[in-house]
Symmetry: C2
């Protein structure tokens, strides 16, 4: 259960994100981190994932600066994993995944849990930060840039450098 697709030669921010968080289990590890999970044994118990896979995923997330480690015991030496600011910025990704699964697979109100925002039901809505409107399918388009485009691999190497 190692990497199963290599996106490093793509030139695309979506592929770049998936190169960091697209491995199997990684998004569920992050989901649990947003729900307060910080320790290896907690993830292992909740996900039932093989220990070597979990260790590998956590290591990758720390290497990419999505999680950071913090010691919580000296003897024995133990650390827990906390979301960084970069990691917290993944929340919209998880909320949109949640919303699609609730509406399209579980059915509205049928999910095993629900999201509550400040006392009222939460449903994510994606708007344009510039004008505040929800973009329609016809008024949003992708424009290629003039700049020589780094691949995902190059962008990640520069980010780590």
């Amino acid at each position: 259960m190692g990497r199963t697709a290599d996106y490093s030669r793509q030139t695309c921010p979506i592929a770049a994100t998936l190169e960091v968080i697209g491995d199997p289990w990684t998004l569920l590890i992050l989901r649990d981190a947003f729900n307060g999970v910080r320790r290896f044994e907690q993830w292992q118990e909740r996900l039932g994932v093989a220990r070597n896979v979990l260790a590998s995923r956590l290591k990758t997330l720390v290497a990419h600066g999505v999680l950071r480690t913090e010691p919580y015991s000296d003897r024995p030496p133990r650390h827990e994993y906390l979301l960084t600011d970069k990691g917290r910025e993944l929340r919209p990704v998880l909320l949109t995944l949640y919303d699609w699964g609730e509406r399209n697979i579980y059915g509205e109100g049928q999910a095993p849990n629900r999201m509550v925002h400040d006392g009222h039901p939460f449903r994510p809505k994606l708007v344009c930060a510039t004008c505040g409107e929800e973009p329609g399918s016809r008024d949003l388009r992708r424009v290629d840039q003039d700049v020589a485009a780094p691949t995902v691999g190059e962008a990640l190497a520069r980010d780590a450098g």
Copy 2:
């Protein structure tokens, strides 16, 4: 390159979504579908993915009602793949993945392409559909429901039934 994680025993809408679109390459196939790609050969050329893998991913997406097929030639018989309404509802997932990769890996304005909404720069912002506010990390929480929670596998089986 088959499935590499089985989320069917999870009880969670995020896991349910990933059970449908979490396979390697699937999100890039959908990215291209949003950019107008409809035919097997176009995906194959853009992604450089093995033909059997691509065929398997398209078949899964059709089985889950994310894509649908439409004939475009009788002799030889050929069909293309179109996003369904259910598929189009994945756009916020792709836009949040794009945004994270642009800001955190490529750097703002450094991505190989950019999103334009109705003539101005597009940046997604996730707000609460109920109140219109952007939720903070402290005022959004997950509440477990009382209902007997179907697993992802059960929810998908019911959805297909």
